[in-house]
């Protein structure tokens, strides 16, 4: 695996929001990726969420923009995090509790897959694949979970904005 200085993850909430506003938002994302000379990452869970549910074709947000981004090569789908690694599995469980508590809900309503972004961020930092991980999300509890949980592994907020 090659080493990247900074890895940027885009969450489904952001892709949905961009998708509703036609191609201009996606062009802006593409420009951003070019300027950073990077490839934006999306997790398999995020990809599954935004791709191909034909019963929802009535909505303006389509999967075509994401497919196009993948083809153009400025976005790619990552592997799932290594659930078998205990650090990663633990941080994802903690993120699940964190989101449940921030939402004042039972943990049953939050699924481990919702926290993939946190697991992936930790994995990249632990394996030294990246120095810095940026997660772009509109889901505030998910963002806060990563901010508060990752520092316990010795990574500071500079690395996980």
């Amino acid at each position: 695996m090659t080493h990247d200085d900074t890895v940027v993850f885009i969450d489904s909430s952001v892709l949905i929001s961009c998708g509703r506003r036609g191609s201009t938002r996606f062009q802006a994302l593409a420009r951003e990726a070019r300027q950073r000379d990077t490839v934006f990452r999306i997790s398999p869970q995020v990809y599954a969420e935004v791709a191909g549910d034909s019963s929802l074709d009535e909505y303006t947000t389509g999967d075509s923009a994401v497919e196009k981004a993948l083809q153009e090569g400025w976005m790619k789908v990552t592997e799932s995090p290594s659930y078998s690694d205990s650090d990663i599995s633990t941080v994802m469980d903690q993120a699940r509790s964190f989101i449940a508590s921030a939402s004042d809900r039972s943990e049953d309503i939050v699924e481990k897959a919702d926290t993939e972004l946190v697991g992936l961020a930790l994995e990249l930092l632990l394996t030294d694949t990246a120095d810095r991980v940026i997660r772009v999300t509109n889901d505030i509890p998910l963002g806060k979970a990563a901010e508060s949980l990752l520092p316990q592994y010795g990574f500071d907020n500079e690395q996980i904005t």
Partner: protein
């Protein structure tokens, strides 16, 4: 219906007018615009909303008749200011609130296809529920996946409606 007497003090009478407002997106826009811009004239509305003057006159008459707006100056041209709408409906265990935000959400269906689709699929009740989730979403106390699971929607649909309704909640908290 300008001939009708103001009926603000008869809640059930007002209820009928409110339902009519929720069923008419263009009238809902006029109310919403006045709600956000006190002392609005008919000409302001014609220009801002790009509606025919005749339509604006008719709807202003209706809204004034139902006492959702009132003339807030003494001279000409007349300036209008909105009154707050707060109506609580209870049906068994289900409670719904009709507020200016809900009226605005309805109004936005004319300009946002996703809100229009959502109302077609889930009705006004679904919209009112989604609006409550949007408040929590903007406050940072819920994720789109949680809304999806609790309301048995796909995460994509939850994400779409939360994004679409965001401006309604955000303008309100300014």
């Amino acid at each position: 219906m300008a001939t009708r007497e103001a009926n603000w003090d008869t809640p059930l009478g007002t209820g009928g007018e409110v339902f009519e407002l929720l069923g008419n997106a263009r009238k809902a826009w006029i109310y919403t615009y006045i709600y956000h811009h006190p002392s609005t004239t008919i000409q302001d509305l014609v220009e801002a909303l790009d509606l025919p003057q005749r339509t604006v006159y008719d709807y202003i008459d209706d809204l004034e008749g139902a006492d959702f707006i009132h003339q807030s100056n003494a001279g000409r041209p007349a300036e209008y200011t909105a009154r707050d709408i707060k109506l609580q409906l209870t049906d068994g265990d289900t409670e719904r609130q009709i507020t200016p935000e809900l009226v605005e959400a309805v109004a936005r269906r004319t300009r946002d296809e996703d809100i229009d689709t959502y109302i077609d699929r889930h009705g006004l009740d679904g919209l009112a529920v989604a609006l409550e989730y949007t408040r929590e979403y903007v406050d940072g106390s819920v994720t789109h996946q949680i809304m999806a699971r609790e309301q048995e929607l796909s995460p994509l649909e939850a994400g779409v409606i939360l994004d679409a309704l965001r401006p309604v909640v955000e303008t309100d908290s300014e």
